[in-house]
C-alpha cells in the first residue's frame, strides 16, 4: 500500500497553529474569550515589546545581542516626553530627537562591542543600567503626563486608536522583508552564520553590524516614542523586562540565538503565544501568579514542537 505523502508545514505555520490551538483551549474554557476585544487586548499587550524587538531580530540574526532595548525605549520616551511637556519643543522635532537618542545608544553599544571587543551581551547589559539610570535622572523619577496627540483630534481619530498597532504591523512587514527578502537580509544571516565566509564574500562585517546596532537602538526608541504617544504619559519603569519577553518570543518563533537564521513574523507569533496564555489565564480566572510559571513552561514546550529544535541551539547541523 502506498503511503500518503506527508503534509509538510512550514515551521511558522506550525507555530501559528499552536497559538490558535492555545487560543481555542481558552475559548472552550470561557467562550467570551473569542471576542474582538480580547484579541485586541492581546495584540495591545505585545505591541510595545514587539516594536522594540523587530530590529533586535536582525541584530540577533547577525550573531549579536542587545539587552538594552527596554531601557532604550524608556530613555527615548522620557527624552521626547520632557522635551514636549517641559521644554514645549515642537512635537515632531522632539520625536526625532527621541529616535536619535536610540541611535546614539545603539552606536555606543556598537563601538563598545565592535571596537572594544566586549561581548555584546555584556556591553548591552551595562547599557541597560546606564540608559535606565539616565532616564530616571532626567525624569527625576516623576511621571511625564499630558503628552499631546500627534495632531488636533488625533486621540479620537481611528488612526489614533490603532496607532501603536499600525506601527507594529508596518514594522513587522518591513522587518520581515528586510531580513528575508532583500540582499541585505541575506548578508545579515551570513554574518551570523559564518563571519569568515561573509568576510571572504566581501561583506564589511563591522559596518553591517554597526548599522544593525543603530537600527536596533532606533527601533527600541520608536517603541518608547509610540508608547508615550499612546499613553500620553511615560515613567522611568517603562520597558523593564521587555528584553526577556523579546528573547523568549524570538526563541519560540524560531530565530536562532546563535545567529544565522531569523524571522520577524516568528517573533510576532512567539509574543502572541505568550500574551494569549497570559490573557487567557486571567479570563479563565486562574491565579495570575501561575502566569509566569506557565509562560516559562510554554517556552520549553514550544521548543519541542519544532522537530529541528536542535538548530536553535546549535549552529551546525
Amino acid at each position: 500500500m502506498k503511503t500518503l505523502p506527508k503534509l509538510k508545514l512550514s515551521p511558522l505555520i506550525k507555530r501559528l497553529i499552536f497559538v490558535l490551538a492555545i487560543f481555542g483551549i481558552f475559548v472552550l474554557l470561557k467562550p467570551s474569550f473569542a471576542s474582538y476585544d480580547s484579541v485586541l487586548a492581546i495584540v495591545q499587550g505585545i505591541v510595545f515589546v514587539g516594536i522594540s524587538s523587530v530590529f533586535l531580530t536582525l541584530l540577533i540574526t547577525a550573531g549579536e545581542f542587545d539587552i538594552s532595548i527596554g531601557a532604550t525605549s524608556c530613555l527615548a520616551a522620557i527624552v521626547t516626553g520632557l522635551l514636549v511637556t517641559n521644554q514645549h519643543m515642537n512635537l515632531w522635532l522632539a520625536i526625532l530627537i527621541g529616535l536619535f537618542t536610540g541611535a546614539i545608544v545603539g552606536a555606543i553599544n556598537a563601538v563598545v562591542v565592535l571596537y572594544g571587543n566586549v561581548p555584546s551581551f555584556i556591553a548591552s547589559i551595562s547599557m541597560l543600567f546606564i540608559a535606565r539610570s539616565v532616564a530616571t535622572y532626567f525624569s527625576q523619577a516623576e511621571a511625564i503626563e499630558n503628552f499631546p496627540g500627534l495632531w488636533h483630534g488625533f486621540k479620537e481619530s481611528w488612526i489614533g486608536q490603532y496607532f501603536s498597532i499600525i506601527v507594529l504591523i508596518v514594522l513587522i512587514i518591513v522587518g520581515e522583508i528586510i531580513l528575508n527578502h532583500t540582499n541585505f537580509g541575506k548578508v545579515v544571516a551570513s554574518i551570523g552564520s559564518n563571519k569568515e565566509a561573509a568576510r571572504i564574500a566581501g561583506v564589511n562585517v563591522i559596518k553591517t553590524k554597526f548599522l544593525l546596532f543603530i537600527m536596533c537602538g532606533v527601533g527600541a526608541a520608536l517603541s518608547g516614542v509610540v508608547a508615550v504617544i499612546h499613553f500620553s504619559s511615560a515613567r522611568n519603569t517603562l520597558g523593564s523586562g521587555w528584553e526577556l519577553y523579546a528573547i523568549a518570543g524570538l526563541v519560540i518563533g524560531g530565530t536562532s540565538l546563535f545567529g544565522g537564521r531569523g524571522t520577524v513574523i516568528g517573533l510576532f507569533i512567539g509574543l502572541m503565544l505568550m500574551q494569549t496564555i497570559a490573557s487567557g489565564l486571567v479570563v479563565a480566572n486562574i491565579d495570575p501568579w501561575w502566569q509566569t510559571v506557565i509562560t516559562g513552561v510554554i517556552v520549553l514546550v514550544s521548543l519541542g514542537v519544532d522537530k529541528k529544535r536542535k538548530k536553535i541551539f546549535v549552529n551546525e547541523e
Binding site: T182, N183, V187, A189, G260
Partner: protein
C-alpha cells in the same frame, strides 16, 4: 620557460617581503602566474604559503609588507579582501568557510548581496539562475540545498563555486584536496581543467606532489619564505620536487616494518560487529565485520571517507553505538558501554578531528597532555603542579614536539606537532590498543615521517594499532595487513605492500 615571446602574466607578485616582528615570514618572494595556466604552489607548513596568500587576499593590507602585486600587468594595491575581489583575485581557503544556515544559491550569491544590499532577493529566481550556473560549470550541487545538510566535500566544492561566481582573473585554491576522497579529487580536477579550457588562471596549492604532476602546467616551490624552485610541466621530476620542498634528501619516509610475531597474543577480537550509522539512528553503517588484532600488529582499515571506517573505531571506543556483535579485549575480556570503560580496558581512539574533538585550544601543551590524567596527579584535590610539568615535559621530549615549550598555546603549534601532542596524551593512558584516525591529516611531510616512526614504535613495543587513513601509500607502508570496506560491506584483506596502491584503490572504491 621558452626564450621566445614572454608569456602574458595574469598575476605577478614581486619582491614580497613580510616580517612579523623579528620573524621573517617572506623574503624576496617572486611569483609569476602565466595567463590561462594551472600553476602549482607547494611548500611545507611554515614555508610562507599562507602568508603569501593572505597578502594576495588583502588580509594583510598593502603597506604592511614590501613589494608589489600586478594583475594583468597593472600594479594593484590591495587594502582589503574586497579590493582583492574587485581586482579579480578569488581565494578559496583551506578551512571550510560557508554559511550553514543559508542555501547553496545564497552562499554563491553572497558576494553579489554584499555589493548590492538594497536589492530585493527573490528566492525562486535566484535558485533558477544558480542552478543554470552550476550546470554550466559542471558542479554537482543544487541551488536550493541547505548548506548545513551538505557533506564536507560538497561544502569544499561549494566554496569553489562561490569563487567561480565572481568570474575571477585568478582563482587560488588553497589545499582544496585535504578533505576529499580520490573520487572527489578527480571531480575537482575535472572542474579545474574545465576552467582552464574556459581561459581561467588557477593557482593550486597543495602538499601532494602527485597532484602537481597530474594537474599543473607549472610549479613553484616555497621554502623558508623564499621561492626556491620553479619549473614547467615538461621538466617535472617528482623526487626533485620533494627534495626541493623539504630542503634535504628525504631519506626513508616510512620506517622499516617489523616482522609480526604470529604467536603474539590477540589483544582485540571482534566478532560479527555491526555498528550504528550515527546519522541514521537505529540503522547499521555496514554489514558485520570480524577480525583479530595481535600485539605488535598494525592493522589498517581501508576505505573511502564515509565508508564506515571511522565508525568502526568509534564503536570500539564506545563513542558510537554497537548494534550487535561481540568484542573482547586482552585476555578475552568484555568491556562496558562507555568511553571511560573502553579506556580503562586498554583501548584508545585518537581522533581525526583534532580541532574539535581532540585538543583543548584555549589551553597550553601541558594542559592538553595531562587533561585526562589530572585525577592521578592530584593530592587532596589539589593539582601537583611539579609532577604535572614533569610528565608533560617527558612526553613532549620523547615525541620531540616543537617548540620544546610545554607552556606554548596549542593553537600556535603546527598541525604535525598538535598531532604529536594528541598521541602523547594517549600514551599516558597506557593503552593496549591504539586506534588512529587520519593521524597525518593536514600535516607536513617532515612531521609525517616522525608520526610514522611513532606509530611504528608503538607497535614495536607490543601495542596493537589500528590505522585509518585516506592516504593509501602510508597505509600500505605502515600496516601489516589492511581490511578493506566499501559499499557497506567488508571486501577482503590486503597485505601491506606499497606496490599495491592501485589494487587497494579499486577495492576501496567497491570495484572488482
Amino acid at each position: 620557460m621558452s626564450n621566445g615571446s614572454s608569456p602574458k602574466f595574469a598575476l605577478e607578485m614581486e619582491n614580497i617581503k613580510k616580517n612579523f616582528g623579528p620573524v621573517v615570514a617572506l623574503s624576496d618572494a617572486d611569483l609569476r602566474i602565466a595567463e590561462g595556466t594551472i600553476h602549482g604552489l607547494i611548500g611545507q607548513n611554515g614555508a610562507g604559503k599562507s602568508t603569501l596568500m593572505k597578502i594576495l587576499s588583502g588580509y594583510y593590507p598593502d603597506g604592511t609588507y614590501e613589494g608589489q602585486i600586478k594583475v594583468d600587468g597593472n600594479v594593484v594595491k590591495l587594502k582589503s579582501p574586497r579590493d582583492a575581489q574587485a581586482c579579480g583575485i578569488a581565494i578559496v581557503p583551506q578551512e571550510i568557510t560557508v554559511s550553514d544556515t543559508l542555501t547553496v544559491a545564497e552562499n554563491i550569491l553572497l558576494s553579489e548581496f554584499a555589493k548590492k544590499p538594497r536589492k530585493f532577493y527573490f528566492k525562486l529566481q535566484a535558485n533558477k539562475d544558480i542552478d543554470f550556473f552550476l550546470k554550466e560549470n559542471g558542479i554537482p550541487l543544487q541551488a536550493d540545498q541547505l548548506v548545513a545538510n551538505l557533506t564536507l566535500p560538497q561544502k569544499q566544492i561549494l566554496m569553489i563555486a562561490n569563487a567561480l561566481y565572481m568570474q575571477p582573473k585568478v582563482l587560488v585554491l588553497d589545499e582544496p584536496t585535504s578533505s576529499l576522497t580520490n573520487d572527489e579529487i578527480e571531480t575537482l580536477f575535472q572542474i579545474v581543467r574545465n576552467l582552464k579550457r574556459l581561459g581561467y588562471t588557477t593557482v593550486f596549492i597543495t602538499h601532494k606532489i602527485i597532484e602537481i604532476t597530474e594537474l599543473c602546467d607549472y610549479v613553484t616551490i616555497l621554502r623558508d619564505g623564499k621561492i626556491v624552485y620553479s619549473v614547467d610541466r615538461d621538466n617535472f621530476d617528482g623526487s626533485k620536487l620533494i627534495n626541493e620542498m623539504i630542503g634535504r634528501k628525504l631519506g626513508d619516509l616510512y620506517p622499516v616494518r617489523s616482522e609480526i610475531n604470529t604467536h603474539a597474543e590477540i589483544v582485540l577480537s571482534v566478532r560479527d560487529l555491526i555498528v550504528e550509522n550515527p546519522r541514521k539512528p537505529g540503522e547499521k553503517m555496514l554489514d558485520a565485520i570480524s577480525f583479530d588484532l595481535r600485539g605488535g600488529e598494525i592493522l589498517g582499515i581501508g576505505g573511502l571517507v564515509g565508508s564506515g571506517r571511522s565508525e568502526i573505531l568509534k564503536a570500539l571506543y564506545r563513542e558510537n553505538l554497537v548494534l550487535s556483535g561481540d568484542v573482547r579485549v586482552g585476555d578475552n575480556k568484555e568491556y562496558g558501554k562507555t568511553i571511560p570503560e573502553a579506556i580503562s580496558s586498554g583501548l584508545y581512539y585518537i581522533t581525526e578531528d583534532r580541532k574539535i574533538e581532540g585538543l583543548l585550544f584555549n589551553m597550553n601543551v601541558r594542559g592538553n597532555i595531562t587533561a585526562s590524567v589530572l585525577k592521578g596527579l592530584s593530592k587532596n584535590g589539589f593539582l601537583a603542579k611539579k609532577a604535572e610539568k614533569l610528565m608533560a615535559k617527558e612526553i613532549t621530549e620523547s615525541l620531540s614536539v616543537k617548540p620544546n615549550n610545554i607552556e606554548a598555546m596549542i593553537g600556535n603549534l603546527s598541525g604535525g606537532n598538535q598531532q604529536k601532542v594528541l598521541i602523547g596524551k594517549s600514551l599516558l593512558a597506557r593503552p593496549l590498543i591504539f586506534m588512529l584516525d587520519e593521524p597525518t591529516k593536514g600535516v607536513d611531510i617532515a612531521s609525517k615521517a616522525e608520526i610514522y616512526r611513532l606509530i611504528h614504535d608503538l607497535a614495536a613495543q607490543g601495542a596493537g594499532v589500528i590505522l585509518v587513513s585516506s592516504e593509501f601509500p602510508e597505509m600500505l607502508a605502515l600496516c601489516h595487513r589492511i581490511l578493506v570496506i566499501a559499499n557497506g560491506k567488508y571486501q577482503g584483506e590486503m597485505p601491506g605492500d606499497l606496490s599495491k596502491e592501485h589494487e587497494l584503490m579499486v577495492m576501496a572504491s567497491g570495484g572488482n
